[in-house]
Subunit: 150 residues, 2 copies
Amino acid sequence: MHSQPLRSGESDRTLFQTMLHELARTYQAFANYSDSYVRQLGLTPPQFDVIITLGNTSGLSMNRLGEQTLVTKGTLTGIIDRLEQKSLVRRMVPQGNRRSFTVVLTPHGEELFREVYPAYVAHLGERFQNLSPTELETIRLALTKLRELF
Amino acid sequence: MHSQPLRSGESDRTLFQTMLHELARTYQAFANYSDSYVRQLGLTPPQFDVIITLGNTSGLSMNRLGEQTLVTKGTLTGIIDRLEQKSLVRRMVPQGNRRSFTVVLTPHGEELFREVYPAYVAHLGERFQNLSPTELETIRLALTKLRELF
DNA sequence: TATTGTTATACTCTATAACTATA
DNA sequence: TATAGTTATAGAGTATAACAATA
């Protein structure tokens, strides 16, 4: 029952709040646009995330894959199961360590990655055509600064 | 730097791809940090999104609520149902239009919003303490520019 | 004992599409 | 007919925690 109102300017949004709101809504819009494309490929967004994270690597352990995609291990097991059913990845047991797997793209998965990732990037790129490289770089720097905070 | 607009398949692709990757991972990190806080309140992220979207308004129709949160109507019905079970929102039938509802915060919901939103902002704000107003503004402008593309 | 990954449970979100009621 | 919202269905992700196997 005890509510402590904002001290300064109850109805004023701070610059910080506006930025937060902008961050959330910006990504929502991006994800909305991106996800609808990804689903046309028959993949869910987390599945696609795994595919492009594995692309151009020689495989990652469940542990590291979870770290990079920020998916917890229990969830990741299910995602990898479904990708395995689609023959896009496989669990490779490395010699000398039977406690950990290496998740790698199958040839089929590699093929999908090579075909689909450039198309995905091009699809998103349509929205960015009018940005100059300078603007892109400014945005990237801002995002990097943001990201480093978390 | 190049002054050419983006053309997919060329060397500018790297900068663009890097930016995209940065956007996705930045938001992932943000969402991860934000969501774990939100769940401590007993709310899911979409439920919290609805609460803060309704805060400081006199209510929104399902339609407009869906537009702002980018949640499709079928999904929104379930989210509102669960918030109603928690007595945080209610469906108000406006006079003269029985086809559309107005979703409003209940007093309990208002109280939650007033207590929890500032705390949420403060929680996130800890990560931003070392940014100057100029840096915040630069980031906000970059995000706005990004958002306008979608 | 600590680490890696799986399993179990319960719930929520999601897409998609058919459906009801109102305008 | 068009619009606003609900319902139905099936699938997937999520948190959480207990569990097994290996190191």
